[in-house]
Each structure stands twice: as C-alpha cells, then as structure tokens.
C-alpha cells in the first residue's frame, strides 16, 4: 500500500506546491515564512494523530458511495415496482435479520446465504492481497456485496471504530438477503437501477484496481461534492437569517493580540 504517497498528495494544498518536501518547508519556515510554519504544525499534528495518508479511511468513503447507491437503488425499486411490497421489506430486514433467515429454506433456498461466500475465501486469498479479498467481478451484485461486507468485517476486526463497521456489515447483509428474495424481474430492475447509479466502469475503477490513485481521485471528487454542499448550505443559511430579520453585519473593535 502506498500510504505515504497518498498522505502527501492528500494534504490540503496550501499556497505551497503540493510536492514540497518537509525539508523545503523547514527551510522556508526558518527563513520566517508564516505559511510554512502553519503547514509544518498541521503536518506534525496530523502525523501525531495518525491522520495523514489514511488509505483505509478513503476506502471507507469509497464504500460509502457504493452502499449509498445500493440503498438508493432499493428505494427506487420500491417506487418503480411495488412500493407496498418493497419498502416494508427493506425496513423489516434491516431491523430483523432473523426473519429473512427463516425464508432461506423456502422458495429461495437456491440463493446462497451470505455467510457462505466467506468460505470462498481461504487463507490464500487473504494472503494474496493483504485482506482485501479476491478480485471483484464488477458486473455481479453478489460479488460486489461480498467485497464490501468482507471489508466491513475486516474493519470491525481491526478494531478501529468497530461499531461503525459492524453497522455497515449489518446493512450490507440486509441488502444481500433482500436480493435473495427478489424474483428475476425484480432483480433485473434493481440491478439496472444500481448500475445506473454507479456504472460498472466506475465500480471496476473502485475495486478492480485498488491503487492509491483511484481512491485519491475518488476522495477528491468527494471533497468537491462536500464543498459544494457546504457552499449551498451557507447560502441558504444566510438567506434564512435575512428572512428572520437577524442582523446581517456586526463588527467589534479589532482585538489586541
């Protein structure tokens, strides 16, 4: 994993060149450059907190996006097909997985239980890619779901925010079990919707090549999206304050510092 390199390029680009080495920053700081001072402090601070180059965090974000697309696909399926049937299903399954497990033995017994995918992954598979599992067939929903759940389980084991990973695992499992209950036509609608949200090419990029670069670009577009979201929020906030007749401007005497 190219953690360090990602960390560097991920660093908030200040006025300095992105590729600037610590040495160069120190030189500038020693010459009295305040910007360089700031960057050094932030860099050391992040390093101490273990934030720089957190590849796992980026992967988490990437998987968030896929999971969101999955859920959106379901919601859409609900409106497209039979809302009265699918929406309660989705909710019920996330709440109560035991219910679905009972159905396993029924008309959908052919669908593999989710946990059985785990047996595909022997110790060699884990050794091959440092825990990230086997290659993902990005046109196959089961394969994608397996990949995501595998990461969630791995994340839960690794001990960092285990409850978050466990929750994710539960949601994914719920989604997978729901798929097991779909008939052919319903599943077709679901897949069309999901792959419409997230074209296979994009998924391939996400999982096929697990390079730092892909995650990096993904995290950058995510950051852009985040920025846009905040910009819109601020615009609305300011409008709301004006509508409420709150003061639009106030300036105190500049402090002595």
């Amino acid at each position: 994993m190219n953690v360090l390199e990602l960390g560097k390029s991920d660093w908030p680009a200040g006025p300095s060149a992105p590729g600037e080495t610590e040495r160069e920053l120190v030189e500038r700081a020693r010459a009295g450059d305040t910007e360089a001072f700031g960057e050094l402090v932030r860099k050391h601070r992040a390093k101490a907190l273990g934030l720089a180059g957190s590849l796992l965090k980026d992967r988490f974000l990437a998987e968030d996006i896929v999971q969101e697309a999955l859920i959106r696909a379901f919601l859409h399926l609900g409106t497209l097909a039979d809302a009265g049937r699918f929406m309660p299903w989705l909710h019920r399954i996330v709440r109560n997985q035991a219910y679905m497990k009972l159905r396993r033995g029924g008309p959908h017994a052919k669908e593999k239980p989710f946990c059985s995918f785990g047996s595909r992954q022997g110790p060699e598979a884990e050794a091959r890619s440092g825990g990230s599992g086997q290659p993902v067939d990005c046109t196959d929903i089961d394969s994608i779901l397996f990949h995501l759940a595998d990461h969630a389980a791995e994340g839960a084991r690794s001990g960092e925010e285990p409850e978050k990973h466990l929750l994710r695992q539960e949601v994914l499992q719920g989604i997978h079990e729901l798929i097991g209950c779909l008939n052919k036509r319903e599943r077709g609608i679901f897949e069309a919707r999901f792959f419409g949200e997230l074209p296979p090419a994009e998924i391939a990029e996400l999982f096929g090549t697990t390079t730092a670069g892909v995650y990096n670009s993904l995290s950058k577009s995510r950051a852009k999206l985040q920025k846009e979201r905040i910009r819109v929020t601020i615009g609305l906030y300011v409008q709301r304050r004006a509508a409420l007749g709150l003061p639009s401007r106030k300036l105190l005497v500049p402090p002595r510092l």
Partner: protein, 331 residues
Amino acid sequence: MEARKDWSKTWTSAAAIHGAVGYTDKKHYSLSDVMGLTGHAFRMNIDPDSVNAAGPTSFPGGYILRRNLCNLGFTSCLADPSAPLTPDKVERTIALVQQSIDRGVPAIAFDLFVPEFGLIYGYDDDKQLFYAKDVSKDGTLTYEQFANPKIDLLFVTTISESLPHSKYEVLRMALSMIVDHARGKEWTHVFGDRFAHGLAGYDAWIGVMERRGADEYGNAYNTAVIADAREFAERFLREVAFRWDGANVVERTVRKHAGEAAARYGTVAEALGRLRELFPFPEGGRPKDPAEADRAIRLLRQAREAEEEGVRQLEQLFHFMKEYYSEVWVN
C-alpha cells in the same frame, strides 16, 4: 536576553483567551493574570522524537480552553465537529460565532490563518465574511473557507456568562490545572502519550538533545514559547505574592508559597532565556551540533531542577487552598 520584554504579548495560546476576555466585565485581568490563571504560563508539551513545531498547540483544545475559561469565571460553549462536516453542523457553528459577536465578545477559533488560537470579531452575511485576527494577521475569511478547516476538525469556543468567583476559587482552580499538567496527569484525549507534558517534557527534550535529534525549527519554536511562558509564570507568581495582603493565614500562606515558587520560576526563565539565545526563532541555530546540544542539556537540567522545586511549592499551596472558600476573611 531581549532588551525588554513586552508584557502585552505572548507566544502561547493564552493570547487569544486574553484577547476575548478583554471584551467582558473581567477586562481587568492582565495578560499575566490570564497566563497564570489558565496555566498557560506553566505548560510544556514536547514531541519526544524531534521537539517538532506542533507541540505547543497539540492539546485537546475543547477541554483545556473551556477549563481555562471556567477558571477565569466564565461559562462557555464549544463546537468541534470533525471533518467531513455536515451542513447542519456548519450552520450551528457559524451561528455560535455570530451569537457571541452579537453579545459583543469575539469567538475563539483555531487555525484561522495559522494553526494557533485566534479571534473572530465580526461577520457580514451579505459578503459571507468573517473578520478575524490571530498572531499572524488581521484579515477576513469567507464562511466557506471557515467551514473547510485545514485540520481534522472545526474548532470554536465562545464565552457565555460571567460568574462571580471568589479569588480563592480562581487561584485554587488555576493551581489544580498547573499541578495536574506538571505531573503528567492532564487528560490528553486523542493526543495520547505522543507528547510529553509537564516536567516529563524536560526529560523528553533532554533525550532528544542526547540523540542530537532536535529539529532546528521546532526546537527553536518550542524554546521561544516555553521561555516566554516561564517569564510570565514568574511575573504572575510575584504579583500573587504581592497582591495577597497577609491579613489572615490564607493570605500569608499564599504569599509565602507564591513568593518561593516565583524565585524558582525565575531560575527556570533565566535558563530557558539562555537556551533561546542558543536557538533563536525562526532560524534555530545548530541543535544537532554536539557541543551546542550539550550546552542545551545543561540548561534544560538547570531549568528542570528549579521547576521541580517550583511545582512542589505550588502543590503545597494547592493542598492548602483546597480548604478555603471565602472572598474576604477578617480574623
């Protein structure tokens, strides 16, 4: 040594606190009062690998700053949502800043222009701008820039109400913080044991010098901040010894311990002042040079020894002060 120290300026994070306090009914607090009562005059936070520049500000700000404000007799509010920020939290944080400014008191924020604590003292909704000042500059930043922090969280603390604390309480709370910090008992939150604080900071610093591993820039910055802090520590303690008038046993005990501690911190400040001559900020001198590093070790040992005695005085005073609560005691 510097020609003359400017007692209205400090290298520590107490600058922002003092700045904000100046807009309240407690504006009579001088910078050295604030430095002492918040414990910033007594802090030290050393990176044990290279004494890097992040040390002085790598403490849990939400906890320390609000405890500081509590010591000074204020209730306070905090926003510290972590990135990526949700729209809702951005709105509520901006609202917190505006409410404080509407009450006439600037909000304390981190990393406005540089990663230190600074003040937001004005807003303009039409232009979506904040007016802000920190040690590096006085300027503006857009709401959007504000909501896109360069560190992993968006930090704002605001002063709410001013409470009438007795001087006994204020001094006792300050001593509690100072002693906890010195003895390494302060809560460090996410920073864990990555920095050595209090007296242990000297040992970590000496260790780095023995390995000839000090980062020129970070070492000079830490030296500047801590030397400045201890000069304030001495001044603060001398003022305490002078102001408590000796009319009863508490007053006399405070005078005695504060006076003795002041002398110790004077020795600390002197040793660190010489260290500062060796490693001037920002250029930093040659801390990796064996001869220079050995000189630094001698000075750090002198400072540590004196500070250890100073801390002991303050501990005794703290244990004594735990029992007294009056504002005025005629006896």
